[in-house]
């Protein structure tokens, strides 16, 4: 029996066993390149998505658990942001995605799916996070290249962009 989920605002009926981790559905059935396999153990955060706005590790989340829920991936963040902020049109990029580019924050960028998704969740709840609040919120995500100082700056930049009434 198919499981109905909404992914980046599109309704999808997925014909897969309910115990299949959501990550494999997003990668293989829906060909999304945001969420990605890092550990399969919910330790690193590279597979993170938003489920009804809450950052969730898709590698350990069975498809059956998200039946009827709304899932947002890295690709869907601009639209999700527009919806949150009641903007008439979705921007090309979420402010944090733009800030990551402006700060030239990443090296290999593989962990940035999770960093951006988690950072976007943080900014949606706390638009003006302090340095400590950022570190605490992000502490469940790892970056092997060691770009922590730059993603912290990118989150702060995105926060300023949002406060400035920009996108």
């Amino acid at each position: 029996m198919a499981t109905r989920i909404t992914v980046n605002q599109r309704v999808q009926d997925i014909d897969a066993p309910a115990d299949t981790p959501l990550l494999y559905i997003l990668s293989n059935e829906l060909a999304l390149q945001g969420p990605r396999f890092g550990c399969g153990l919910a330790q690193c955060g590279s597979c993170s998505v938003l489920v009804d706005g809450v950052e969730t590790r898709s590698c350990v989340t069975p498809l059956g658990k998200v039946s009827g829920r709304s899932i947002t991936t890295l690709e869907g963040l601009p639209t999700w942001y527009a919806e949150q902020h009641k903007l008439p049109n979705a921007p090309a990029l979420h402010p944090l995605q733009q800030a990551v580019i402006d700060e030239q924050a990443m090296h290999c960028g593989y962990c940035y799916n999770g960093l951006i998704v988690k950072g976007a969740e943080l900014l949606s709840r706390n638009p003006q996070p302090t340095d400590n609040q950022i570190r605490t919120a992000m502490n469940g995500h790892l970056c092997r290249c060691g770009t922590y100082p730059r993603i912290i700056k990118a989150i702060q930049r995105a926060s300023r962009m949002m406060a400035g009434g920009g996108q």
């Binding site: 897969a16 293989n28 030239q104 090296h107 790892l142």
Partner: protein
Amino acid sequence: MITTATAFPRRDFLKAGGALLIGFTAAPQARAQQADVLPGDIGQGPGQPDPDRLDTWIAIHADNTATIFIGHVDLGQGIATSLLQIAAEELDLDMSQMKTVRLETGKGPNTGNTGASSGVNRGGPRIRLAAAEARQALVTMASARLEAPVEKLTVAHGMVSVAGNSVQQVTYGQLIGDRRFEVPYTGKAPIKDYRTHKIVGTSVPRIDIPDKAHGAFLYMQHVRVPGMLHGRIVRPRGQGSYADGARVMNVDTDSIRDVPGARVIRRGDFVGVVAAKEWDAVRSAQQLRVTWDLPAALPATPAELFEKMRSRTIDRLVLDRGDVSAAFARAAHVASGRFDSPYQAHAPFAPSCAIADVKADSALVMCSSQGVYGARAPIAAVLKMPQEKVTVQYFQGAGSFGHACFNDAAQAAAVMSQETGAPVRVQFMRWDEHGWDFYQPAHSADVKIAIDANGKLLAYEYHGWHHTWSQTETTAQLAAGQAAAEGDGPRAQALTPFNTGDMYAIPNWRIVNHRVPGLKGYLKGGNLRSPLDVAISFGAEQVMDDLAHVAGVDPYLFRRQNIGDDRWLAVLDAVAKAANWTPRKAAANLSSARVVTGRGIGLGTHLSSYGAAVAEIEVDKQTGVIVAKRMYGALEAGQAINPGIIESQITGMMVQAASRVLKEEVKFSATNVTSVDWVSYPILRFAESPEVTAIVVKRQDQRSTGAGEEALASGAAAIANAFFDATGVRLREHPMTPARVLAALKNA
């Protein structure tokens, strides 16, 4: 792979004294000094484009853009952007007119593996010369077309104009548009004076970051091909002794009977599973019951490991300058210590992944690697197929920082595809990657350094014990029965005058490399970012600090008075200035508070650049937790092609240095590795991350050297020295874990 190294000599190769460099192979370096040999490495092997033809390196298109065929791989460090800057500069094109293509065997140049900071260092000069030669050819064509002498022509944005005449002009695209140059690449075209550079030396944004920010970048882990099966390897959870591999006693295929379509792949001691659905492959690999013979051949504890390493070695006197023994005998102060550094893992954030499509007489393998040609030969050997029948395409994965499991994964995919006749995508699981890595080998050091009554270095003696890099990929070992083998010759991991003591003026200097035979009873070893250097600086720079302390001199000023090279002095001064370093003796402000602070300074390098760091740390004496609060890293890598990228690399290096020296250690039992995920192999996290100030020391008049690893060791040393400053106690082993900190404080 045989690679003809025509590398530049590392700085001034004979600076170390010229007298006795026993065991060094100086011949390859000497080649670079012949005027008719182009710079950079060219690998040997069948079916590769002729490196001596210009078309191998550059194509100019009808739309007035250029494609540069880059032989090095961008591993996420940004070298593609930097190399395109070099080409754009010489071609008088804008960055918007530059692109490169996916590297593939048979199509891209074979410039050897991307390692040892080689991308810009060794890849850059050849691209620069090729671009200059292409420009020269294009301007010559323009001269004929415009009927004007070359001296009267100027080029901007790929438009060639006659000076003082705005009508007479022609674009590169109009001149050659998508046709081949069909000329030899001589390397003799003049390159631009660095003082006229407009693109080189600027912080052009990286070309790959926008796509990576919104999920459009295609990592290897996202590649899918029609009709493919998903494969997973099945091995013991964590490798054992390298020479012993892993022997299959029994495979219970019934144990995955309930997984639809899952199938066991077995070749020799290689075991894998394939299934049409990825989750089915993942769960059947975990469910499959395999009985392994894993002998208890490893040392059971770190202490046993280091004793074993020191017990039987092949010793080589690397350098013996002056009269070391006599110098120690007359020294005013001698400091010494033994330092032990653990095996450490690459642990790329994305476990290695590859897709292979093996047919009867050809194979296509898509994978990450440090080089497509380097990956091809061993894949062909495992497939028992001639190299020229195998095509390898490069797809970026996560930063690997050296020899991780990418080739192993590529070979595993190849074996499974050959067995099934279908394309197979293999992705390692986290425990496969952590557990079957080519780890940075453990290193043990005896360091002894002496000064005279004036605080000047008199003698320096470094003994280092380690095994070198392992060469046999585990898939080849298990599936094809290839014996475990080690790297040898100049490419083996070894102590040199460059990675030990290079920064200082040392009149009497002895280096002994104690090579451990690393086959039986050791883990697989491989090059990990700045190989050996974290261990070397951790020890040698602490002894240097001890000498400053006994001499009653500030550690920055002490180093200053013992450096003879102005480039080393410049990075040291730059980092001290950025950190607002005010001279005082180390450990002069000891406090009885629970949380104490300290600062430390350190120097380090790998092959060719100059790194310096300052660390400011906090130590909680009750919990033993060290936090690096702020780090300053300075790197001089000759001509800075893209200072912004170098700054970014320095930032990452400082964070990774803190991770390596405070946290990282491969753990194992007598039978196998036991640190197989991010909990059992912790790395630095957000909450513990230092703030970093990165300083790029530019020497635009010098050739570019490596910028991807060479400040790492200085960061590790700075943290170790900061701990002494905070507590008055030395830690001689890393990682500097709470348990070690508490034990050291208790014993002090």
